[in-house]
Amino acid sequence: MEIEKKAPPPLLMSQREGRLVRLMGMAGEGLLFLVASLSVFAVLFIFYFIVRDALPFIKGDYIGEFFSNSKWYPTHEPPVFGALSILYGSLIVTIGSCVVAIPLGVCSAVALSDIIPFSWRQGIKPIIELLASIPSVAYGFFALVVFAPVMQSHGGTLLVVGFLIIGAPVLGIASLLVGDMLSDRFGDSNSGISWALIPGAASLAILVLVSWYLGGIQIISGTNALNVSVILGIMALPTIVSVSEDALQAVGPELRMGSYGLGATRAETLVLTVLPAASSGIMAAVILGIMRALGETMVVWMASGNAAIIPDPFYDFLSPVRTMTATIAGEMGETARGTQHYSVLFMCAFCLLIFCFICNLISEQVMKRNRMKLRGEI
């Protein structure tokens, strides 16, 4: 009997098989490329649809009024679409949240990366990042139901406490730095502490005077720009802390060791070496935080008071304001498609989009610079 021999598998693929494999490979790559470009398409589509719906307004009669008038009566007859107060509302709330979030955020990041023990950091950082996972409606509810009434009943005290939390460390560090500069210029290096006494006393006087002034203020309405600024600042904290802490970590031990080796103290190392080296990363963190505050809707809709006015005087944080996001959220429900009111809301969205786009570009550039700097390319 003859045993049937199996032919050994050919080492080379047949032409047909080869083509199949190539085709499969191309299909796989194509599919992955498609998936990856999905979000790019999403962004392009968002741009397209927002511009398309904003276009009737841009071409319409009200576009001049949009940027020059501060009266917002979109449903009145005849309508008035002055968005100046709304643009200003977004601006003042964003600035306010920066004032709250940047000093606190950067200080926390420095503390996390360079000051507190590593084991504590492992516990604290996740808790700070947890702030980011709280839904914004919960923040809004807190701002409306808890924070606003407290502001009304204990406004002065609250302002003083808030001012001291942010003002005291900033002024303290500033007076130390000024004292250092003064001793460099006028005295011998040993009397740095005594030179710091002069700006220190000045800062103390400022703290006391401002606190005394703030303590006398009565807040009439708790839903105002300040309320929203504080809450948005807290919401932006996790982003700022997390990204700046990463930037500070990325500076690496070499620079720190070098600085210590030159005889610098820990504070000098931090302020003069680590912070400047991480500055662009911190910048990027701040910009990301700003974008978070600028785009937030629910909190401002619930707690900003939504009055379409430019506060008088313009820096009055205790006045209610209305932001672009809240306007869109609050008014989109009722507007009929195709009306000027409908398009003007898209115009607001377009302004927001442009602003966020610019912020994003800047932060992208800054991050890129930072990476190059750390690699020693510039």
């Binding site: 501060s70 009145h76 409306l144 009304q152 939504n306 209305r322 008014e331 429900g333 009722e334």
Partner: protein, 281 residues
């Protein structure tokens, strides 16, 4: 062979589709309700009661504002639009344009109570005074007989039916002052007035409770009887709109006429609105 397979497939297809269609006939009947957050509670309570009595009927109620209710009815996304105002001319035109015939069913009356903080000594205001406060002409409580403190004026978002009724009944199309604060719901309004000593706001009568004080308007208290009898000046009917009049006896018909039944009246009264049938009493 091939023919056999084909016939088996065809038979299976017929069987499956038969099951599907018969299933559809027995399946839950669905009513989708969309619209006002003021009428929403009525629709929700009605739906709960109705589904309890009629097994196999599935009613979903969404509260997204009167305007969205109208939009949904026009685009055929809902069977009943709940609205705290009448349909606008624009909406009727849009409806006619897409082949819909909105029919209004007034299901209850709603009074809008002007509310202040319970600690505020002011207990009554005229319609004129309320108008002047919201127009920004009066900005201190002492101008309307209260103590010397600035008035925190709170209004509703322009997309709410409550705002529209307030605007037409009180403001007579005069613009509301631009410094007025805006909140997004009756509940938020109540929370703001409750927690702010010098605030004034307005909510549906159903949302007035111990935490806020409803003032007399033109010396008339905001009560069920004053609203139902039409004496109270800031009152309005609440509507449910259907596409055409529902076929008598149909599920939608039975649902939409519930407000005439004893149970329907009790539900409306329990939520704080006034049954239309109450004017007889």
């Amino acid at each position: 062979m091939r023919n056999k397979i084909m016939s088996v497939v065809a038979a299976a297809a017929v069987a499956v589709s038969g099951m599907f269609f018969s299933g559809a006939a027995n399946a839950d009947e669905k009513i989708v309700i969309e619209g006002s957050s003021t009428v929403g509670p009525i629709a929700k309570q009605f739906a709960e009661f109705f589904m309890d009595k009629n097994k196999g009927v599935n009613i979903t109620v969404n509260e997204s504002g009167s305007g969205n209710g109208a939009k949904a009815l026009i685009s055929g996304k809902c069977d009943i639009a709940t609205m705290s105002r009448f349909m606008k001319e624009k909406e009727f035109k849009a409806a006619a344009g897409s082949g819909k015939m909105p029919v209004a069913h007034a299901v209850a009356m709603d009074g809008i109570a002007v509310v202040v903080n319970p600690a505020n000594p002011v207990g009554k205001l005229t319609l004129e005074q309320i108008h002047d406060i919201y127009a920004g002409k009066v900005n201190n409580w002492k101008q309307v007989g209260g103590v010397d403190m600035p008035i925190v004026i709170i209004s509703r978002d322009t997309s709410s039916g409550t705002y529209e009724t307030f605007e037409t009944k009180v403001m007579h199309k005069d613009p509301i002052a631009s410094g007025v604060e805006t909140v997004g719901s009756n509940g938020q309004m109540r929370a703001r007035v409750q927690s702010t000593k010098n605030a004034i706001g307005y909510v549906g009568l159903g949302f007035v409770d111990k935490s806020v004080k409803a003032v007399l308007v033109n010396n008339i208290p905001a009560t069920k009887s004053s609203v139902a009898s039409g004496v109270y000046p800031i009152a309005r009917p609440l509507f449910m709109f259907t596409d055409g009049y529902p076929k008598p006896g149909s599920t939608v018909f039975r649902f939409i006429t519930m407000y005439l039944s004893k149970d329907g009246e009790a539900i409306i009264e329990r939520i704080g609105f006034v049954p239309l049938t109450a004017y007889k009493k």
